[in-house]
Symmetry: C2
Subunit: 192 residues, 2 copies
Amino acid sequence: MGRAGLTTERVVRAGAELADEVGFEQVTVSEVARRFDVKVASLYSHVRNSQDLKTRIALFALEELADRAADAVAGRAGKDALVAFANAYRDYGREHPGRATAARFPLDSETAAASAGVRHARMTRAILRGYDLAEPEQTHAVRLLGSVFHGYSSLETAGGFSHSAPGSEESWTRVLDALDVLLRNWPATPTP
Amino acid sequence: MGRAGLTTERVVRAGAELADEVGFEQVTVSEVARRFDVKVASLYSHVRNSQDLKTRIALFALEELADRAADAVAGRAGKDALVAFANAYRDYGREHPGRATAARFPLDSETAAASAGVRHARMTRAILRGYDLAEPEQTHAVRLLGSVFHGYSSLETAGGFSHSAPGSEESWTRVLDALDVLLRNWPATPTP
DNA sequence: TAATTTGCCTAAAGGTTTTAGGCAAACGCA
DNA sequence: TGCGTTTGCCTAAAACCTTTAGGCAAATTA
């Protein structure tokens, strides 16, 4: 029997595809092995354990999503950039629900600090340059935007918006309009 | 050997506590059985399977959260109600991270329709009565609020805001200020 | 070509899930 | 109080996933 040509890279990529097909939670070392037509134990040379596999898929998804987001915002500013960036998130979630779920996988702080998550934060700040927000308000806004993108995508994937009118598409557009207005009229900290 | 006095109710409640201790994903029929000092098979009279257990924990958490939210908004209106409602969500996530994660567990649409999720939606709409939003804008706003609460709580639980200044507490307050401003100045649909 | 490294395999132990069938405690009723 | 029925937890067992240890052969290097 020849070799299957496994590498950590290929294993992780296969895991990401599997996540899109069956859901991130259902990703299993055994199933990935099956896809390569290889015995389970063979994967343990390329991945430490099941948790490690999931973490790597999460990191992979974060990178992929950051790449897309970077492409989307390139050459844009203001609301244009905001909308392009936000759409990169939503589209990723719709095209790759499993990977998008993976991108929300909780990482320990060390891993998170070395992940593409920091690129995401930097890009979000870059977009806020189009609005007039000084620190610490900028950080609050970054967290709000992260919450909205994260939350909307996850509710949409869970089917939360799919069984009532108006359509999710329309809500998304209006939510982005609203966020743009909000960022242009960010309230001053009330004097206590 | 006497009987353990298992009921679906008690099993689900124990599962919810377990979720808070070890994380919702780690909730397992076996571990719940261990807690009751009972053989695993015994639980299968009270719960159909592992998926069913998780679904029931999710429904339980949704009810509990809806009760808290209802208490919080009672007798309040406007920004007062918005803040109380939002805090009910965040506090629940901080006190019961496992249950809060359970409350985000994807339910099939039939189950979701019979869940306390509809109470959540109704309460959100009630809060929006304090603002001047006609349909379909009200629905868009409901979805935005759901995304923010859901997203913020989940990022906070994942530790997303815990390793940088300013503190999450402050961001949360400012996010709510911002949402209040936004709801009072919700943009009109641009004429195409 | 010989030596070494690398890659996948077999074997095996331990844990979770789920079903089937059994026995005894609790309950309902005469 | 005693009898029959129901209910609740148990044993047994099969299927699957995880993970480690050790082996052999293919690929790489010298």
